[in-house]
């Protein structure tokens, strides 16, 4: 196993799993850093992550990127299921949890053990918010995601739904079925549904924030000034013991 690069003094104080976690990976072994960027499609997550990776690697930090639906185990089946929109609520929720758990155990935790900085393009909060909006029980979700590690930092890129709709249309000339929450039946009009759904998602994030404190970053600003703010916060994180 490689020597830890970022924090030779060992894992950060107060590192914790939300619940029982993954016992094979004791907390004191997890010497790297887990940084999560959350936000809707069009909030600028991927651009920010690309810029952070670039910066971190230039500074000599080894990085790993993870995201939702990237697991070896279930990602292709999950994509297929979404295409057909045939899965019920609990099933889809558990399918996503399986995908998350597979990446947690096979990517995130081994990388943290090896001292990498792990950049996660969304984390359990998006999964929970989607389910909360669809009426799933928060206590059930809390138990389910008791396997997850609390990140060192979570940045939530908050962008007004009106601005999101503009960015998504400018990029794809279309709105995504799931990002518009079409399965919820808010409206048969996709534009309306998108706005309503994204507003509901923001409310769900606000609610989750009470229990899972994350840093809200104003994502309505230009890319560069957001990166500057993120760098500043991450720099502080990297020097702390």
């Amino acid at each position: 196993m490689k020597k830890p690069m970022t924090n030779p003094e060992g894992a950060k104080k107060g590192r914790r799993y939300y619940g029982h976690g993954i016992p094979r990976y004791p907390l004191e072994d997890l010497v790297g850093k887990l940084i999560v960027v959350e936000g809707a499609d069009g909030s600028g997550r991927s651009s920010q992550i690309a810029r952070l990776v670039d910066w971190l690697e230039t500074c000599g930090h080894a990085t790993v990127q993870v995201g939702l639906k990237h697991s070896t185990l279930v990602s292709s089946e999950l994509a297929k299921a979404q295409e057909g929109n045939i899965l019920s609520r609990t099933t889809l929720s558990l399918f996503y949890a399986t995908d998350f758990a597979d990446q947690l155990e096979n990517m995130i935790l081994p990388a943290l053990k090896a001292g990498f900085i792990v950049l996660s393009d969304r984390y359990i909060y998006t999964l929970m918010a989607r389910d909360v909006v669809r009426g799933m029980d928060e206590a059930w979700l809390k138990n389910l995601y008791g396997i997850a590690l609390e990140p060192d930092a979570v940045f939530y890129l908050s962008v007004e739904p009106q601005e999101l709709v503009q960015r998504n249309l400018a990029k794809n000339a279309a709105l995504d079925y799931w990002e518009s929450g079409m399965d919820l039946g808010f409206s048969r009009d996709m534009f309306d549904s998108f706005l309503k759904y994204q507003t509901a998602m923001q409310a769900a994030f606000r609610q989750l924030r009470k229990n899972y404190g994350f840093t809200v970053v104003d994502g309505n600003r230009p890319v560069g000034s957001i990166t500057k703010e993120l760098r500043k916060k991450i720099r502080a994180l990297l020097v702390e013991k």
């Binding site: 929720s93 399986t98 597979d102 155990e105």
Partner: protein, 250 residues
Amino acid sequence: MMKTFAELNFPGRLIAVEGLDGSGKSTQIYLLKRWLEAEGIKVYFSEWNSSELVKSATSKGKKRELLTPTTFSLIHATDFADRYERHLLPLLRAGYVVLCDRYIFTAFARDVTRGCPPDWVRGIYNFAALPDIVFFFKADLEVSLNRILEGRPKLKFFEAGMDLRLSADPYESFRIFQGRILEQYLAMAGEFKFMVMDANQHVEKQQALVRKIVGERINLARFRRRRPLPLPPPLPPDNKAKETEEDLAA
């Protein structure tokens, strides 16, 4: 906390069988199904680990040995949820007698044996109502083991509990693993009011008792088909590449 379908005022009823591989539970539930069909009851049979959609992920995970106790647990929960939401619930709303070869107790016993915390596993499955009757087929451990191991079958990695590193020998590992699962089953028998069946008895004798209990506990007349609608097809519809019971259960 958890309630049965009857307590939740579902028109249908759910009967589950549980037990170790080789306990004879599948034979018993098959015979029960044949009887109910002959009686003109609206009946549906569902097997553990059979959701078409989730199956390809599960079998990939098993073949490539990608599963950890956590993902093993979650992928089976996904499979169960799919069957529960898409088949079991609507059928129970429509007044069927649903027969399940294994139910959530299989997950409780296996996942906890694999080291998942009991509260976590139970919490995940708490969206499911309890069966109206659970038959637990209790055979002596040696009897069940011999039934499975007699033919020296090729045991699969997870089926034998090899992921737990109990023994380098798959047969020895299987024995220890099954023994631990049995302990888990017995520990919850009282809590979930299992009807404990003596699986060392003759098949016919057990079946007579099963039918007697079902007849006493469920007013079967209420579940007769009024018009002779055909019964729904089993899932998957075509029984391609018929797997053994151990395959499906592993």
